[in-house]
Amino acid sequence: MPDRTSRFIWPILGLPGIVWIALFFLVPLYVVFCVTFGTVDPIFRSPVPAWNPLEWQFEQVVVVWDRLVGPNNFYLPPVLRTLLYVVVAVVACMIIAFPVAYFTARYAGRHRALILALLVAPFWISYMMRMLAWINLLQPDGLVNSIITLGGIIPLEVNWLSGNPFTVVMGLIYGYVPYMLLPLFAALDRISPSLIEAGRDLGASGFELFRRVILPMSVPGIVAGTLLIALPMMGDYFTSDMLSKSPNTSMIGNLINLSIATPGQSGQAGALLILVLLVLLAPMIWYTRSNAKAEVRS
């Protein structure tokens, strides 16, 4: 017999979580709006937030917008560069992750648990440590140069850490590819082997099987993986900072990071951030809703 209080227990249990999210997720975002649409103290150039939406002023947004599309639009190159790096990195991650995920899902057999564990390992190895690893390897006298020059014989030495965009993109790929692997693995894993068999029985060749059965069925995994790495990559600044330090590889995250620490520029950082979030809003919502559907499906 259900007791009277049972209906309220669930809301009570859920309330702390709701309060927390409201307080420490929504409120901070609102504060960002207030700072961005506020004013700047004329003497010390510290931002003065405007709490009332009716008092919001948009000069900071205008400044940022101007720097994006105006005559001296110097924000545009980092934005385009970021998009380029992200696209290249995502495609490369896909090319790398697909065969590995496919192998683990279909062919790994007895060793599957071990391989999965190894694939999952980067999640609990610090991202910074993995970047540090590459900084060490890419030193002028590091392992990579030693290998490609075969110990100093072939004069092929490259200065990897001198602001080379290739290094930054490789860093992004190295850092994010594990996050592409798991969704792909999950999607490929769901493909029932009987489907593959059926396709084979009907005379499909290996390539056709891939193109017409496996690829379409792995699309949810591909999309999930893409969103899962592309969105955080947009805000990445430390990869470029650690592996390059050159303005020629600066990304949107670097712009935001630079403005935050500079007195008087916090509003601009906020405006940039809001612009980035607006652009990412549609994919973010799409991703979350498709996940909600996935939850129901399983």
Partner: protein
């Protein structure tokens, strides 16, 4: 099994939520800090509250700009008097020191702890990457920093932002060893707030085996940053004022604090040109990058190459490091200072620390690690060479006292001009 998930956000819900916006904003505005963490506290303390206290500071429209032609004696804000004489240092203090990385010898800090072991003091060193970041953190009041290693073009903000404590000279007798100039510097007449730490010039450092030419022999040595010859192997300092100053000097100007729009426009164009021609990195780590060979040449400060000897990999000859700055002294020259920050909890111990750093043995030991010259009478260039601190190949790194008459210090800027400089720097750092 479960019913179809309702769409997480419906239009009606959105409207309801936004209707909450205005009362929500009212709630937030009443929760706002009376004084945001990163803006200065009012000069009059709330405790006094009398009209006279509020009126004793002149109404602030513009912070005075100190320069060699216009020396400034800062006011002492009411409520911010120096500590009285004869106090004992605090017991069990954690002396929080805020500095650039690798800019003070940690052994010197440990020695201070040993010398004041009776008071059980612990020195805790925090670092910042650049001065704007440091100022933001200090203003935020989140950490009670006691001692700051800062630079004079932020003096106005420190004083009027009520972030700095005036010094009681009784605690700092070692000041007598300091060069005359710094007992009455233009940026702090009567050394009310600061004691000098190091002096330096800004020039160019390189490794001779990677760059065989003598940069100093060029007609315009700064031009090397616009030279395709060394593209990809050079760096400039991660300091907006330094890069802008160097560009102005390269273009033939002498006012490195210029507010002239024509000069600034030309500077902006030159800096962008530099980016495309030589793809420099932007970093203050020349003191390790050049010895290690990651970079061949960098804009750097005079102490960087001296301390760079310490970072050479084994087997590389220290004689390969070189430094150039204008031999007549007509280049960027500056000094850093030590100050006691108002937010700190241990002002007496902080005074003792300042005095300690002015001791010539301590300064010498510190110099052996950081490479920067302290302006002490007892530390003559001859003494530095004799002690092996200054090798012959780095003789150009010595700072001569007379250079302070002809050199170009980087000064504080009026607010509007500062905005211009920041915009140029942002554009530079965006990669053009």
């Amino acid at each position: 099994m479960a019913d179809r998930p309702r769409p997480p956000i419906s239009r009606r819900r959105l409207l309801q939520a936004s209707a909450l916006g205005v009362p929500g904003a009212w709630v937030l505005s009443s929760c706002a800090r009376a004084q945001p963490l990163d803006s200065p506290a009012p000069a009059a303390s709330a405790g006094g509250g009398s009209a006279s206290a509020a009126a004793s500071l002149p109404p602030l429209t513009e912070i005075p700009i100190a320069s060699p032609q216009n020396p400034v004696k800062w006011p002492i804000n009411p409520g911010n008097e120096p500590i009285t004489s004869g106090l004992e240092p605090e017991m069990n203090a954690t002396l929080r020191v805020y500095n650039y990385p690798d800019y003070v010898y940690k052994r010197v800090l440990k020695d201070f702890q040993a010398e004041y072991a009776d008071y059980n003091v612990k020195v805790e060193l925090s670092t910042f990457n650049d001065l704007p970041e440091a100022l933001t953190k200090i203003r935020s009041g989140s950490v009670p920093f006691d001692v700051g290693f800062l630079t004079y073009n932020y003096m106005g903000k420190l004083v009027y932002g009520d972030l700095i404590r005036p010094l009681n000279h009784d605690y700092i007798p070692n000041i007598s060893d300091v060069w005359e100039e710094f007992q009455n510097p233009f940026y702090d007449q009567g050394w009310q707030y600061t004691v000098p730490y190091t002096i330096y010039t800004t020039g160019i450092g390189w490794r001779h085996d990677l760059i065989s030419e003598d940069i100093g022999a060029r007609a315009n040595p700064y031009d090397v940053f616009w030279d395709t010859k060394y593209a990809g192997a050079i760096a400039v300092l991660d300091d907006d004022r330094e890069v802008i100053a160097m560009t102005i000097l390269r273009n033939g100007g002498t006012d490195v604090n210029s507010g002239d729009p024509a000069v600034l426009g030309q500077t902006r164009d030159s800096m962008l040109e530099m980016l495309s021609v030589s793809q420099p990195r932007v970093t203050i780590t020349g003191y390790t990058d050049i010895p290690e060979g990651t970079m061949s040449l960098s804009q750097c400060w005079s102490g960087d190459m001296i301390t760079g000897q310490y970072y050479l990999p084994e087997g590389v000859d220290p004689g390969l490091l070189r430094y150039w700055s204008p031999p007549t002294g007509q280049g960027v020259i500056g000094n850093d200072f030590l100050c006691v920050l108002k937010g700190g909890e241990n002002p007496v111990m902080a005074h003792h620390f300042l005095n300690y750093m002015l001791k010539s043995e301590v300064a010498m030991k510190n110099l052996s690690f950081v490479g920067y010259q302290p302006p002490l009478r007892s530390l003559t260039p001859e003494a530095m060479v004799a002690d092996g601190l200054l090798p012959a190949n780095l003789a150009g790194a010595i700072v001569k006292p007379e250079w302070f008459q002809v050199g170009y210090p980087i000064l504080e800027l009026p607010v509007a001009v500062e905005g211009e400089y920041q915009a140029i720097w942002q554009q530079f750092k965006s990669g053009g």
